[in-house]
Amino acid sequence: MRARRFEALARSRRAASLALSNRKEIATPHLGAVNSLQVDLTEGRYLLSGASDGSAAVFDLKDATEYEAGFIAKHRSILLVDRQHQHGHKFTVSKAIWYPVDTGLFVTASFDNYVKVWDTNSTQVVMDFKMPGKVYSAAMSPIATTHMLIATGSADVQVRLCDIASGAFTHTLSGHHDGIMSLEWSTSSEWILMSGGCDGAIRFWDIRRAGCFLILDQLRSQLGRRPPIIDSTTDNHQKNLGRSSSSKSYSVQQRTGNHKKQSKGLRKSLTMVRGHTQQKVHPGMSSSQNRKTAHYGAVTGLRTTTDGMHLLSSGSDSRLRLWDIDSGCNTLVNFEAMRLQTSKPLQLAVTDDPSLVFIPCMSSIKAYNTWSGTTFQTFRGHYDHVNCCYYNSQDQVSFPSIVLC
């Protein structure tokens, strides 16, 4: 058997045999619900959590602080910033994320309208950004090499990009009609950001240009994406006709933009480039497109697959949708019935394959088969609502968060 195939099989088997660990225990110092979890991207060793009591904590997952009964590894937090801390957040920490390049920095976003950047070693705030409303979400691009931007979504309608390098807001991305619950950077292009708003829209932004370039439409499906086999000239002709809903002149403009982008040496984002050409109309300019929605109600969670080809979104309509990023189509995978929390941002997780998607469903975590939408497994173990889950591919351990009663 090929090594890759074996590895893939072994991984999926492990993912499939996921269960609540009774040998590992994370002793949480949080007094409120845990809203965010992330394991650092460099070593896969330190778990960062943010909780509704305004605290954030770091745990070492490799070395247990103590062993209980000989074999239950107990992990206590090795770092805690809470309200007692001189710079601590006053209200709920909605998101806590690692700086993607190393574990020297982490970022917390809070309902006290602040986004704070922390030095891990000194546990001091090195920078803070005051936002116009409660901050629901913050995200940093895991692949960025040319920028150090934190995308933040708040109760305000704009997505703001905070630059760690300068300490200022570099962009405000307007388009959403309501607050922004979830944000996700593209895993294939460092300039592409996806945002999900309380208005039910998922917008794609290229931060180098104004306006959003794609709004996902739940009614636009994957079927018949490829043009049928006809003689190529008429084919093209029809295609143009079919797309004639608005501004024909734009297709030219889009193409030039396309070239410029390639010349900038962005070979990694070829799939994204094609995304532009598919969507020949600039949605920011068209009011009909501007109203498209991905979910009825708020978009509460976003997650791209590791290969950057698909996007998963959850909404307050208790739906999980799988999108083809390239074409912006809804793949119409029908994820079996679920009930999701409606008022909070949710953190989803995907396996590397990406054959399984994990989603917090009230007091359990459900794992769905990504392609068929069937329920694969339900993980129970929490005593109250689950807000977030994280899948650590290196160790193959999923970390569901705990909401204390």
């Binding site: 994406r225 990694k268 290969d307």
Partner: protein
């Protein structure tokens, strides 16, 4: 040239696909799931910028271009989410950089469909090979199918350019012929015919005239001929030639089977029906056929009974004060005889058959010419008064000898008389002479080679006038002890061996006597004597010394291969009717006659098994090898696997005993060990019950066998809660890796004398502990996906604790401890890495971490590391102390990792960086990039590893390039060559 890798994207699990449009419009690559990369050609044949097209099918099994399409069209065989298989076609629209829905598609094919064969125009269309059916479809919705016997087809080869016949090879090694019957360029049906059995084919190429090359990754590749008529067994296949392939090496052990102080590698090679045990030996072996004890041999020559005879008859053995003559008698026995004309009371310096059916004997005081027929003295030349002959050489018509004081005397045989033709006085004493003819005349040499004392030189003289043509100073203080002129593969060489085991080689111009291309190698440490011999019609040179070597020429290059003998003083070819192509070899206190192996570096012996061996182990005490193997048996419907433990003799490789394992039970590990308080040696075998419904085995056994009268005797069995992936002897106990646990077992003797394994302690905390190695109290564990960790056994507490681990996520395929502190691991992205124990680090945190010190991309999937070496170790040499580890890979590569001393490493690393500038890689790919550690997670430059193959290619450079390299290194060429040759001596 460019890079087609994408930074993002999931590499395909089913392997990369690269195809070219039959009309050469584009190259198609399927490297990542969901993406099809297109590299268009422009009309001049240049490559244009590549782009990706999104492919909706995520699980692609095969993609091919269709023939005879106006626009490039691909056909995709894929599997959907419900595991059903379909084909679909797409046209590639180059301008739009997208696919257009293709002309046809076909849903719900055979569940085992895995191979597409595009059929050339005018037929067009595609053949889809399944496990139970073969289907042909094309754009005109022609659909033809035939059922076949269940088999997995792995390879196909097109016979006719119009695509009407194909050869198919399946994984049982059966070759089939598929015929498309046609009528007016339309396919009317399919026919399949059984041809015969070959190796399990990975690729099939039809050459011509019914000759087919079957390339195999699982067994030897073959050249086969397809006959028109079946043979007695009904097979149309005749095997013309086999090409040895060791891969896949699943396991191997290093043993010294011949007890010569030299390791041999015994591998579990091949897969399926081509499984075999292979014995790989380095160097040339001598198969001894007869030997006598004889002390103090000073020289050996063979003589024929007449000049035109094909075979040798007499063997002249010279001692310090006498000479004895041996001859083959009628019973093919060697007996002592007398040759009346020869002087037997004195040491012989040289003997030779000469023209006119004469024999020449050179002794210290005379040269004697003896008739072959009458064996009587015909003529004699006496050394001048007060002088004695020191060294001499002769050929069929000439004799050259040196007497003391630098006198050189040249004699010719004319009309059965010895005629002194020329006498010369040289300035120094003569240490060695040679007259071996290298010119056109095989009986007469126009050149003589002479080595001299004092100025340490070798000279070429012309004959018969004894004029100095060329003198080459050798440098140093060691006297040349043997010179030889010889012609190998049509090229003349002058070889000159020194008293310290070094050898100079020169290219010799046979007509002018010019010497060029001087090279120096070290063969041993003792004086060398050189002799030519011929084997299978080719001439080679034998260098006798403490490290006997055969010098041979391959592709017009001199190669040195060691002979598997400890020390040889003298050698002469002894080609008799009873022992053709034999050599007479004088060792310390012994004269032996033997035949020589084929002249090549590695010798591979194959023991076919017809089943696949998975683990092998040697037990010296019982002189046996044991191995775990399994066999697929396919009944009419059921496919089953049977596993065995088999025992065989380590010299004859005969099967001695078999122990069948239970149903679903398979052997996972095997060692030979003894336990404390018990002197017997046992084979311990770890097994697993692989039940089809289980993801991970939950049951296994440890079986302990003793070898009694050549039988495997089950002594103890112990059930375990999982697969026993690894076993190690550990402080007189048995250490087993069972699923995620490391478990230590004690060997207990019950009152009734029976034994049992009793668990003592264990350690949890691995995903799957697949590989363990031990040294003292330390245990190194290679985990399925969590790299290497180091455990220690604490005697007082009788507990195993983790000391340190490597926190990288490497998927291990093998581990070994190079020494106490450095461990080497191989992972499944074909990389090697080494980690070091940080025992002197200041903090606990650092001590708990295995520091990665070396990284290297090998490009091979390593299955096993073992300590050992394929070459004989000379205890007194510096290189003999270097620890080496042998590894075996899936592709059948056997390699060696040597841990070099630091200064040596620094020097060679500098040489490597210099060489990279001079030696271009294949396709000008960068060496640095290729050797960079690379896996899904990271890419980093190779460090603390050197590429031995690259460094050794220094010796293949021509002289001017070598000088350039030497200049860049600021080290003389000789020094560089010496260091590189030293390195070569390691393998």
């Amino acid at each position: 040239m460019g890079d087609v890798s994408d930074r993002i994207g999931r590499p395909t699990d089913n392997g990369q696909i690269g195809i070219i449009d039959p009309d050469c419009r584009l190259i198609g690559l399927h490297l990542y799931d969901g993406l099809f990369k297109v590299i268009p050609f422009d009309n001049k044949g240049q490559l244009k910028e590549a782009f990706n097209i999104r492919l909706e099918e995520l699980q692609v099994l095969d993609i091919k271009f269709l023939y005879g399409c106006v626009r490039p069209t691909i056909v995709v065989l894929y599997q959907d989410n419900k595991d059903a298989r379909h084909v679909k076609t797409y046209e590639v629209a180059l301008k739009e950089k997208d696919f257009v829905e293709g002309p046809w598609s076909q849903n719900n094919l055979d569940n085992g469909a895995g191979l597409l064969i595009p059929v050339p125009a005018p037929l067009g269309g595609v053949i889809i090979i399944g496990e139970e059916t073969i289907v042909y479809c094309n754009a005109n919705s022609t659909f033809k199918a035939i059922p076949i016997k269940q088999s997995i087809t792995r390879a196909y080869g097109r016979v006719d350019p119009d695509g009407s016949r194909y050869l198919l090879g399946d994984n049982a090694g059966i070759l089939h012929l598929l015929v498309l019957t046609q009528e007016r360029e339309r396919v009317t049906g399919l026919k399949i015919e059984h041809l015969g059995e070959t190796s399990v084919a990975s690729s099939i190429s039809y050459l011509d005239n019914g000759v087919v090359y079957v390339g195999s990754r699982f067994g030897d590749s073959q050249l086969v001929k397809l006959n028109l008529q079946p043979d007695a067994t009904g097979s149309f296949v005749e095997i013309l030639e086999r090409y040895v392939n060791l891969g896949p090496i699943v396991d191997f052990c290093v043993v010294d089977l011949d007890r010569q102080g030299q390791g041999q590698v015994v591998t579990c090679s091949g897969a399926f029906k081509d499984g075999s045990i292979r014995v790989v030996r380095n160097g040339i072996g001598i198969n001894e056929q007869a030997s006598v004890e004889l002390q103090g041999i000073k020289g050996l020559w063979s003589l024929k009974s007449s000049f035109s005879d094909l075979y040798d008859m007499y063997l002249v053995v010279s001692f310090i004060s006498e000479t004895r003559f041996l001859a083959m008698n009628m019973e093919d026995e060697l007996e002592e005889i007398e040759i009346e004309g020869f002087d037997a009371q004195i040491q012989t310096l040289f003997c030779q058959n000469a023209i006119n059916d004469m024999l020449i004997q050179v002794t210290a005081n005379s040269v004697r010419l003896v008739s072959c027929t009458s064996r009587e003295l015909v003529d004699q030349w006496n050394a001048p008064e007060g002088f004695s002959v020191n060294v001499a050489s002769a050929n069929a018509s000439q004799v050259l000898l040196a007497t003391g004081g630098g006198h050189l005397v040249y004699l010719e045989i004319r009309d059965a008389k010895l005629v002194e033709v020329k006498h010369a006085q040289l300035e120094h004493e003569i240490s060695c002479v040679d007259l071996n003819p290298v010119g056109e005349n095989p009986q007469y040499s126009s050149l003589a080679a002479i080595g001299m004392w004092t100025d340490i030189s070798v000279s070429i003289f012309s004959l018969p006038d004894l004029e100095l043509i060329r003198k080459e100073n050798l440098g140093g203080e060691i006297v040349p002890r043997s010179v030889l002129m010889c012609t190998l593969e049509g090229i003349s060489y002058l070889l000159c061996a020194l008293g310290d085991g070094h050898l100079f080689s020169f290219l010799l111009n046979a007509s002018t006597g010019e010497l060029t291309d001087r090279k120096k190698v070290s063969l041993g440490t003792q004086p060398i004597s050189l002799r030519t011999f011929s084997s299978k019609g080719t001439t080679h040179v034998f260098a006798s010394s403490d490290r006997p070597t055969v010098i041979y020429s391959s592709n017009k290059k001199l190669l040195y291969s060691n002979v598997n003998l400890k020390e040889v003083n003298h050698m002469c070819p002894f080609n008799t009717a009873a022992f053709p192509d034999s050599l007479a070899i004088a060792k310390e206190g012994e004269l032996s006659i033997g035949t020589i192996d084929d002249i090549q570096k590695l010798h591979i012996r194959t023991i076919p098994l017809n089943e696949q061996a998975r683990r092998i182990c040697h037990q010296e005490q019982s002189r046996t090898l044991a191995f775990c193997s399994f066999k697929y048996t396919q009944n009419s419907m059921e496919e089953s696997e049977a596993h065995f433990i088999r025992l065989m003799d380590h010299q004859t490789f005969e099967f001695l005993s078999t122990h069948p394992l239970d149903q679903y039970e398979c052997g996972c590990s095997m060692i030979s060990c003894s336990f404390s308080d018990d002197n017997n040696f046992y084979y311990c075998v770890g097994t697993a019950y692989v039940l089809p419904e289980e993801n991970e085995p939950t049951k296994g056994r440890i079986l302990v066998f003793a070898v009694e009268d050549g039988r495997l005797q089950l002594i103890v069995e112990k059930e375990t809660k999982g697969a026993v992936y690894s076993l190690n002897a550990f402080n007189g106990k048995l250490l087993a890796a069972i699923n995620q646990k490391i478990q230590l077992y004690k060997w207990m003797t019950r009152e009734d004398g029976s034994h049992e394994l009793q668990s003592e302690c264990g350690h949890h905390g691995h995903i799957l502990a697949l590989y363990t190695q031990t040294r003292g109290d330390f245990i190194v564990v290679g985990d399925l996906m969590k790299s290497i960790s180091l455990l220690v056994y604490k005697h007082e507490e009788s507990a195993i604790e983790e000391l340190a681990r490597d926190y990288n996520a490497n998927w291990m395929t093998a581990v070994e401890m190079i020494d106490d502190d450095i461990y080497v691991g191989a992972e499944n992205s074909y990389n090697l890495f080494t980690v070091r124990k940080n025992s002197d680090a200041a903090t606990d945190e650092e001590r708990g971490r295995l520091e990665v010190v070396g990284e290297y991309h090998l490009g091979e999937f390593v299955n096993r590391f073992r300590h050992g070496s394929l070459v004989m170790r000379l205890p007194d040499s510096e290189m003999g102390q270097i620890p080496t580890v042998i590894f075996g890979t899936i592709n059948g590569v056997i390699g060696i990792i040597a841990s070099l001393p630091h200064d040596h490493y620094v020097f060679l690393e500098k040489l490597q960086t210099t060489l990279v500038k001079f030696i271009k890689g294949v396709g000008s790919l960068s060496h640095e990039q290729w050797r960079s550690f690379h896996n899904d997670k990271k890419t980093s430059e190779a460090r603390n590893f050197l590429d031995g193959d690259l460094i050794e290619s220094f010796l293949d450079l021509n002289r001017s390039k070598m000088e350039e390299v030497a200049k860049a290194m600021a080290v003389p060429v000789e020094e560089l060559s010496k260091r590189v040759e030293e390195l070569m001596r390691l393998h």
